[in-house]
Symmetry: C2
Subunit: 298 residues, 2 copies
């Protein structure tokens, strides 16, 4: 059977980061300063610490400035908001990211609303969501994971316009904005979720499938339309005694089976994940340009 072309997110993300590094050095020459990214982490969840370390490392590697605030698990919402406010007022900071989830006792949305919409590189402020989901106001930031999905397609020469795209999941950070960015690229978009009937039948109509449900290998090989583009956002730990950690990560798609049918497929790990971090850097660059009033392309 013909095997799908693997969409190597790790490699594509490397290319993105190389372009970004070049842009940073050009911007530094032009403006005498570099983009700055501030990351706030509250508490000590190991997965959050890993993500923050990866983001920090990526920012440093492309020559950005890095700001990090580590606040104790017991912090109040006000203490987190004070930290955000510090960065809101700091002219060396162009992107602010609060690592989620926040501890249970903190109202996440209340905190996110205090991030300056003009430094909101995760695009979670309501006014930035409103700008993304309407015309005319102008989109300010595109959420990183959906932006990474489109970037994978663009860098691989995969056309989106006129295609039937099916998005599994409707979350604030992946499903819903992914549907919107595909719609903006003129795909016909179907949004599915836990109440969808005949999921397999709908997935079979997809020229482009985005799976973001968080259920290990839920999408079966025979759900995939021959030649389809399969973007697997899911990152699910499953028990694996052969690993030192006792687990490994799998996607929402049964990769082995789907790769026999699909035209293109992202692996997990090494697919969408690395792109998400690269797009965070991309948003920070765009923000820097905006603050510098630098409208020059690329």
């Amino acid at each position: 059977a013909p095997m799908a072309t693997v969409l190597d997110g790790k490699k594509i993300a490397e290319l993105c980061r190389r372009d970004i590094a070049q842009a940073v050095s050009q911007l530094k020459e032009k403006h005498g300063r570099v983009p700055g990214l501030a990351v706030i982490i509250v508490g000590a969840r190991p997965d959050s610490q890993t993500y923050v370390r990866l983001k920090k490392k990526a920012a440093e590697e492309v020559g950005m400035r890095n700001f990090e605030s580590t606040l104790p698990e017991t912090s109040t919402a006000q203490e987190v908001m004070n930290e955000i406010d510090k960065y809101n007022r700091d002219p060396d900071v162009h992107g602010i990211l609060v690592q989620l989830p926040l501890p249970q006792h903190i109202n996440e949305k209340k905190v996110l609303e205090t991030i300056s919409p003009d430094k909101d590189v995760d695009a979670l402020h309501p006014s930035n969501i409103g700008r993304l989901f309407s015309k005319g106001y102008g989109t300010r930031f595109i959420p990183c994971t959906p932006k990474g999905i489109v970037e994978i397609c663009d860098r691989t020469g995969i056309a989106i316009e006129g295609k039937n795209a099916v998005v599994l999941g409707r979350s604030d950070i992946v499903g819903l904005p992914a549907a919107k960015v595909l719609l903006d690229r003129n795909a016909t978009v179907t949004i599915c979720h836990s109440k969808t009937h005949d999921l397999a039948g709908i997935v079979r109509t997809a020229d482009i499938l985005v799976a973001a449900v968080g259920r290990a290998q839920m999408v079966k090989g025979d759900w995939i339309k021959p030649g389809a583009v399969v973007i697997d956002v899911g990152t699910n730990p499953v028990d694996d005694a052969t690993k030192a950690t006792g687990y490994r990560l799998v996607g929402d798609v049964d990769y082995e089976a789907a790769a026999q049918v699909a035209g293109f497929i992202t692996p997990v790990p090494g697919g969408v994940g690395p792109m998400t971090i690269a797009m965070l850097l991309s948003n920070t660059i765009e923000s820097f340009r905006w603050w510098m009033n630098d409208t020059e392309a690329s």
Copy 2:
């Protein structure tokens, strides 16, 4: 052939307005004041004047207070914004509506952004759009036409959850928010537009069809799935020599043919149109309650 049940929007809107009139009189008793709606019209487009007159009449009939500003076609954006600001600060005004379109020389979005998000009964402010298209921040206002569509279903006992809904059109005021409110009611939603391939084939999968394209009778009878719910938002003038005006209004759906196949269908006129105005009043009531800190249901 069995004929579809006609979804009589005029009658359903009447029921809504009766409920709203009752709520207004109860709120008046309780708070010693009534909800107030301010409508701003710029210029003298006959269609806009008609809409404003209908909205004003509807507000008066349910016992609301009415504020109207008629500004000349030559007004500057600043003059319109000053008028908005007056109503933003007026405690007797709970809903502000700027009749669109504004004259060409005025930046519409800049004007809409000055409406207080807490009086934005048309739900066009970016922060209200953001609240609609995300979880957790809490939806502030639902745009009137999409809200009317769901109200028609609810008052007719049409279930939405688990159904396949197809929305034709992706505009800010109808298509996109209609898709979101149907998604919020757990429909599986497909969004189509001018770049969609095989529109007929996709429409044939719809248990619920919302047509909002603005093309007279584009949707043919044989595109309709037997028993489907057909919501026709389109309002298109077509030449008609038998009318005094020289035209009549038709929807985006070929009504005569579709009514032979559908389970339910909205006529044009007398379908979604009257509901849109009733929902404007409903949003104004909700706004009044919010300003009065009145969380009591109904």
